[in-house]
C-alpha cells in the first residue's frame, strides 16, 4: 500500500466521520463546523487528483463563503436548542432504512458494472486540473456560459435582497 492509497483512505474516513457528525450533532453550529471539515477533506481529495484549481475554489467558495453564510443565518435566527423539533423515532428509522437500502442497491449495481472493471483514476499526475488549461477552456469554449453565470449571480443578489427586505 503506497502513500497515495493511505491518503485516499484517510481522507475518505475523515470525510465520512465528519458527514455522520453533521447529522447527529444537536447544535446546528456544530453541524456547520463538521460540514466545513467535510469540505476540507473533499478539497484534499481534489488535491490528490491534481485538480488544484477546484481544490482552491472549493475552499474559497464552500468553506469560505457558503459556510460563513450558514453560520451567519444560524446566529441571526438564534434557535433555542431544547425546543428544536424532532421527528418521530419511526420516521427516523424509516429514513435510515431508506438511505441504507439506496446505498446497498447502488453499490451492488456498481460492483456488477462491467464497463468499470479495470479502469483506474489517475492520481497525482495530469495537467487538466491546473489553472492554465482550465482558464483556456473556460475563456474559449465556455465563455458564453461564463458570462451568463454572472447574470445569474446578479439575479440571485437582487432576489436575495428582495426576499430579505420583506
Amino acid at each position: 500500500m503506497n502513500v497515495l492509497e493511505i491518503l485516499f483512505y484517510a481522507l475518505s474516513a475523515f470525510a465520512l466521520v465528519s458527514a455522520i457528525m453533521v447529522l447527529i450533532s444537536k447544535n446546528p453550529i456544530h453541524s456547520v463546523l463538521w460540514l466545513i471539515l467535510v469540505f476540507f477533506a473533499i478539497s484534499g481529495h481534489y488535491i490528490l487528483l491534481n485538480a488544484q484549481f477546484l481544490a482552491i475554489v472549493n475552499i474559497i467558495v464552500y468553506a469560505g463563503a457558503i459556510m460563513v453564510l450558514f453560520l451567519f443565518v444560524i446566529m441571526l435566527i438564534n434557535v433555542k436548542k431544547d425546543s428544536e423539533p424532532q421527528k418521530h423515532l419511526y420516521v427516523k428509522f424509516i429514513g435510515v432504512i431508506t438511505g441504507g437500502s439506496f446505498l446497498t442497491l447502488l453499490i451492488a449495481l456498481v460492483k456488477q458494472a462491467l464497463p468499470l472493471v479495470g479502469k483506474n483514476v489517475l492520481l497525482k499526475e495530469g495537467t487538466i486540473g491546473l489553472i492554465h488549461p482550465l482558464g483556456k477552456a473556460l475563456f474559449n469554449d465556455y465563455v458564453v456560459p461564463f458570462e451568463i453565470s454572472s447574470v445569474l449571480f446578479l439575479s440571485a443578489m437582487v432576489g436575495a435582497v428582495l426576499i430579505g427586505k420583506k
Binding site: E5, F8, A15, L16, A19, V22, L23, P28, L35, I42, Y46, L49, A51, F53, L54, V57, Y62, I66, L69, F70, I74, L76, I77, V79, E84, P85, K87, I94, V96, G99, G100, F102, L103, L106, I107, V110, K111, L116, K119, N120, V121, L122, L123, G126, T127, I128, G129, L134, L138, Y142, P145, S149, L152, S155, A156, M157, G159, A160, I163, K166
Partner: protein, 111 residues
C-alpha cells in the same frame, strides 16, 4: 486507484446526505445535507474526468480529454453559491413569518 473506490465513497457520502434530508426537521440542516450531496457529485465528476484523462494518455490522444467535467464542476459551484444565497433568504423570511425553522410548517403551502 480503481474508479470503483471513488464511486463507493461518493455514494456513501450522497446516502448520508439523503438520510439527513429524510430524518432532520431543522431547515438549515436539511439545506446543509443538500450541499453535502452536491459535493459528493462534484467529487465523482472530477474522478471520472481523471479516469478518462488517464485512458486517453495511455492511448496517446490529445491532452485535454476530461477537462469539460472540471469546467462543469466549476459551474455547479457557481450555481450552488447562488442557490444558497436565495435559500437562506427564504429560510430567514420563513423564520420571520412563523418564528420557527421547522420544515413541517411548510406544509401550509398546500392550502
Amino acid at each position: 486507484m480503481p474508479i470503483q473506490y471513488y464511486i463507493f465513497f461518493c455514494l456513501t457520502l450522497f446516502s448520508i446526505g439523503v438520510v439527513g434530508v429524510l430524518t432532520r426537521r431543522n431547515a438549515i440542516i436539511v439545506f446543509m445535507c443538500i450541499e453535502l450531496m452536491l459535493n459528493a457529485v462534484n467529487l465523482l465528476l472530477v474522478a471520472f474526468s481523471k479516469m478518462y484523462y488517464g485512458l486517453a494518455t495511455q492511448n496517446g490522444v490529445a491532452n485535454t480529454v476530461g477537462i469539460d467535467a472540471q469546467i462543469f464542476v466549476f459551474f455547479i459551484m457557481v450555481v450552488a453559491a447562488a442557490e444558497v444565497s436565495i435559500g437562506l433568504a427564504i429560510i430567514v423570511m420563513m423564520y420571520r413569518n412563523t418564528h420557527s425553522i421547522d420544515i413541517n410548517f411548510l406544509n401550509r403551502l398546500k392550502n
